[in-house]
Amino acid sequence: MIPARKAGRCASLMKASQRIRQEIAAVFANTAMPIEAQARCGPFGLRLGFSSRELAGTFLPAYIQCTPETIDLDLCFSAADHHDFSALVPEAAEKPRLLIEDGIYSVWQPAVIPVLFAVDLAAKRGVAWLPQGEAPPWIRSRPAISLIHAMMHETPWCAVHGAAVGSGAGFTLLAGEGHSGKTTAALACAKAGWLYAGDDFIAVNSETGQIEPLFCSARLRPALVETFRSFIGETTEVSDFNGEPRHELSLADLGDRIGGGRLRAIFIPRRRGAATLEFTPARQSDAFRALLPTTAYELPGWPNEIAEKVARIAGLAPVFFADTGTAPMEIPAAFTRQLERL
């Protein structure tokens, strides 16, 4: 029998990646998930498991549910009352952590509402553990995106902060900081019948320019509610985090119009007071600066690889600043005209 003190020392000698791998394996070996679903997320097929109805209700609306051809990741969402991952929470738990070691990628995000994400890339299994059983709004609208980012490592794919919509004239990637008008433009195009690939994070192949949706969520500011009332169901949740209320939308009802296509242009929305939409040629470096910051900050790990992919994406298509004007419903026609000129 190993004395307790010695056993403790053995356990502490175990590498963090080994411990995380063990815990992930244990979740999938021992537990049947009460709620399961399948979804596509960028180029990947996901099998999703939720340890409770509440967690499924929190995260499933953001996923594009379908039966994918292959399952690239088994992903389990769990809370403290179903699985105890507290042994994996690192020392000094108030600090965020990132571990990339021996095929394990793991992120501890304490923030106000803590979340632990971990994936065993070889086993293609991941967990999202919510000690308090809830998640901040930005995680609910793009669940476990850091794990999708980890799966894109050493592939040409990159999860990019931006919106994307497409029509017969091609797909446009809308790049820029918050409040720049990305959501307004993307939802206006979706309302006009365009394909919708997302308003927050989308997947882009940095070699081919292929765009794929990651999620079917959108986060709408109250000022836009009247314009896009048709997208807002009766039960749409309004989140209020740090004083920023948002309608948390699921656009799953768009059905086949949630989709991707080939990048044709990059538009950088901005508000400079134009009455009607105006385009101004921009540089590849402008697109890079518009795309990289939030992309890099939201996706922990491999910053150089992200920057290189984003730089390649910024060079795949012509770039324009788009002063979006004051009439959102005129945006789709203006986008079409600009895309057809290229």
Binding site: P96, L98, E177, Q284, S285, R289, L292, P303
Partner: protein
């Protein structure tokens, strides 16, 4: 000591004659254009301040002394800003020459710090040296 453009958590990308630098540690972005980009690229190609100054003077035909002064001041500024560091120099690129149409213009960088707030919200960027320290198990 030599100067290096390889700085931890500093990302660099060249776009034709422009260089964009992103400091993931403090959330500040920089845009270098014209002579500023050429000086940074010269350091990246493992040229000394003197070599860069001489090359810029040759390329523009402007006064070598004032160019040398401007290059030294700009290099000091980049050092203070953390865009370059003292350390092992980058690998020497054998064929490097500045690309600078027209006269020499005093180098300066554009600084974008509107992303710092975002950075401070959730500063997980890359694996730190501390890694993922597991807690000591409780002893029963």
């Amino acid at each position: 000591m030599a100067l290096t453009t390889t700085v931890p958590l500093l990302i660099s990308q060249q776009f034709d004659s422009e260089v964009v630098l992103a400091n993931y540690q403090n959330g500040v972005y920089y845009n270098l254009d014209g002579s500023a980009a050429q000086i940074w690229l010269g350091l990246k190609a493992n040229r000394t301040v003197e070599e860069i100054s001489r090359a810029l003077a040759d390329a523009t035909g402007d006064d070598p002394a004032s160019i040398a002064q401007a290059v030294q001041a700009f290099t000091d500024g980049m050092l203070a800003e953390g865009l370059i560091a003292k350390g092992t120099a980058d690998a020497r690129v054998e064929t490097w020459a500045p690309v600078l149409p027209g006269a020499f213009v005093t180098p300066e960088f554009q600084r974008f710090d509107n992303l710092r707030e975002l950075l401070l919200m959730d500063p997980v960027h890359d694996s730190g040296e501390e890694g993922w320290p597991l807690r000591e198990p409780h002893e029963g």
